[in-house]
């Protein structure tokens, strides 16, 4: 585990993951909304989507979803070319 910030009274912690995850969501009104994802054999319910960003790696279209689940913030990446999902990083307050 990597600690990104550990000084002062705050101990906000961050972990780089980079693992493939399974995501279930709803496709409605031409928009996909992730509702839950499975990571480490555990289902995480998406409570809030805090940010969505469309980015590109070369010409590969990627969409980043930053979601809150049980107080932790997860950054999920959806590769629109191969429909693969990756969990990039997790932030949680220590």
């Amino acid at each position: 585990m990597k600690l990104r910030v550990t000084f002062g009274q705050y101990r906000d912690m961050y972990q780089t993951i980079g693992e493939t995850v399974d995501v279930a969501g709803v496709f409605s009104h031409s928009r996909y909304t992730p509702k839950k994802f499975m990571w480490k054999k555990r289902v995480h319910i998406v409570e809030t989507i805090t940010y969505v960003a469309d980015i590109k790696n070369g010409q590969i279209p990627l969409r980043l979803y930053s979601v809150v689940s049980r107080g932790n913030v997860y950054r999920l990446e959806w590769n629109k070319n191969n429909d693969q999902w990756h969990l990039l990083e997790v932030w949680y307050e220590g």
């Binding site: 990104r4 910030v5 000084f7 002062g8 009274q9 705050y10 906000d12 809030t48 805090t50 940010y51 960003a53 469309d54 980015i55 790696n57 070369g58 010409q59 590969i60 980043l64 930053s66 809150v68 913030v73 950054r75 070319n81 932030w91 949680y92 307050e93």
Partner: protein, 412 residues
């Protein structure tokens, strides 16, 4: 719109503490806390600070050590450049949906012309509120912006720069003189610290004072160009660089990077220059351009060296560009000082459609290699296929910069 409204009307939108605000929007755990943005993990320069951190005196350019003295609870977070670029693209789309003419001035600033559609809104302030609301809807509830509205871009930008966070400031006849008299030069677009210092020698600290300085004093101090520009600015008119139409095509593509520490290893210097060259060529080829002037510069240990070469024919191959610039490095970089900052550029760009393909077999072979690599990297990501020279090298990927140098490449 009321009758007293001026003929032209510009709206300047400036997102507050952009880099930090977007990160706080993404991560609710960071909201309301002092956040300092660093370029990447291990870096020691604050490139942006959140609203909360600014209240402790943490500013852009502050060293991490200094920032921690001012704000012991500062949370440092690496920048997320792809997120910023995505937000800017959304901001651009939003602005163009509201007015017929909108232009991005930098990553977090936009100018909107309200002249053509002023009649659609009861007053400029209502339009300011609308854009603030739409930005919150589009980018998130944590994202706030300053809005400045005035007859010229200069005044609109000054108004938003000097306003409180999240404010809407309309510059009218009454407030114009006060704005010109009270705004310090650091908040005036185009007046840098050098020009500001020269004006200080005349006792000038605000734009309004320039109106009272005769040309006999002003021209020897700042030169004829700036004397004319400052004279216009002192009356609230736009200087040349704010009215000039942007060129339709890019003139040059460059890339610089500051390393983590001084580098003396020739192999790493070579790899870094090749990496930057590959990025420049990838961008140039994507825009279907080719360039004739190749530049390189190195900086470190208080020294700086740079050189350029102008070629007969346009260059659009990584190896070709690299060989030109590395030849300069090997033969003309005499000092061999330790390097911390690297830069390469390709200028005198022209459209590939106007350039004749070369018939030399070696050039044709290189072109086929570039095309194949380009196609694979488009499908699998930049640097998925790369030169063996970059093996074992920590890859440097493209990053958007604050002043949007590559706006055409990013479609802004």
């Amino acid at each position: 719109m009321k009758d007293e409204c001026p003929k032209t009307m510009w709206v300047h939108v400036d997102i507050n503490s952009y880099f930090a605000t977007i990160i706080q929007q993404e991560n609710p755990l960071l909201r309301g806390k002092p956040v300092g943005i660093i370029k990447s993990k291990g870096r020691t320069c604050i490139i942006a600070a959140s609203k909360e951190a600014k209240t402790f005196g943490v500013t852009t350019g502050c060293s991490l050590k200094e920032a921690r003295i001012r704000c012991p609870h500062l949370i440092t977070v690496p920048a997320a450049f792809p997120l910023y670029l995505s937000a800017t693209q959304r901001l651009k789309r939003l602005c163009t949906s509201l007015v017929p003419h909108a232009e991005m001035f930098s990553l977090d600033e936009a100018f909107l012309s309200l002249t053509e559609c002023a009649h659609l809104y009861p007053d400029p302030h209502t339009f300011g509120s609308l854009i603030q609301q739409r930005i919150r809807e589009e980018l998130g509830e944590w994202v706030t912006c300053n809005v400045g509205i005035a007859e010229s871009k200069l005044l609109a930008k000054m108004a938003s720069e000097t306003g409180k966070k999240g404010s809407i400031t309309c510059v009218t006849g009454d407030s114009l003189l006060a704005l010109l008299a009270t705004t310090s030069f650091k908040d005036v677009c185009g007046v840098g610290w050098g020009l500001s210092a020269r004006l200080q020698t005349l006792g000038v600290t605000s734009l309004l004072q320039i109106s009272f300085i005769p040309d006999e004093q002003l021209i020897p101090c700042v030169g004829p160009f700036w004397a004319k520009e400052l004279r216009a600015m002192s009356m609230g008119k736009d200087p040349d660089f704010l009215t000039r139409k942007r060129s339709a095509s890019m003139k040059s593509v460059g890339r610089t990077i500051t390393g983590r520490a001084l580098c003396r290893d020739p192999r790493i210097i070579k790899q870094t220059l090749y990496n930057l060259t590959a990025e420049v060529i990838a961008k140039v080829r994507e825009m279907r351009l080719a360039g004739r002037q190749i530049g390189v510069f190195l900086e470190g240990d208080g020294k700086r060296w740079g050189a350029h070469v102008t070629t007969q024919t346009p260059v659009k191959h990584t190896l070709e560009m690299f060989l030109f610039l590395y030849d300069k490095v090997q033969n003309e970089w005499i000092d061999q000082f330790p390097v911390i900052r690297f830069g390469v550029s390709l200028s005198l760009l022209t459209s590939q459609a106007h350039n004749q393909e070369q018939i030399l077999p070696e050039w044709q072979k290189q072109e086929r290699v570039e095309m194949a690599v380009g196609m694979i990297n488009k499908k699998h990501g930049l640097f998925a296929v790369r030169s063996a020279l970059l093996l074992g090298h920590s890859l440097i990927f493209p990053e958007v910069n604050g002043y949007l140098g590559d706006r055409q490449y990013y479609g802004l």
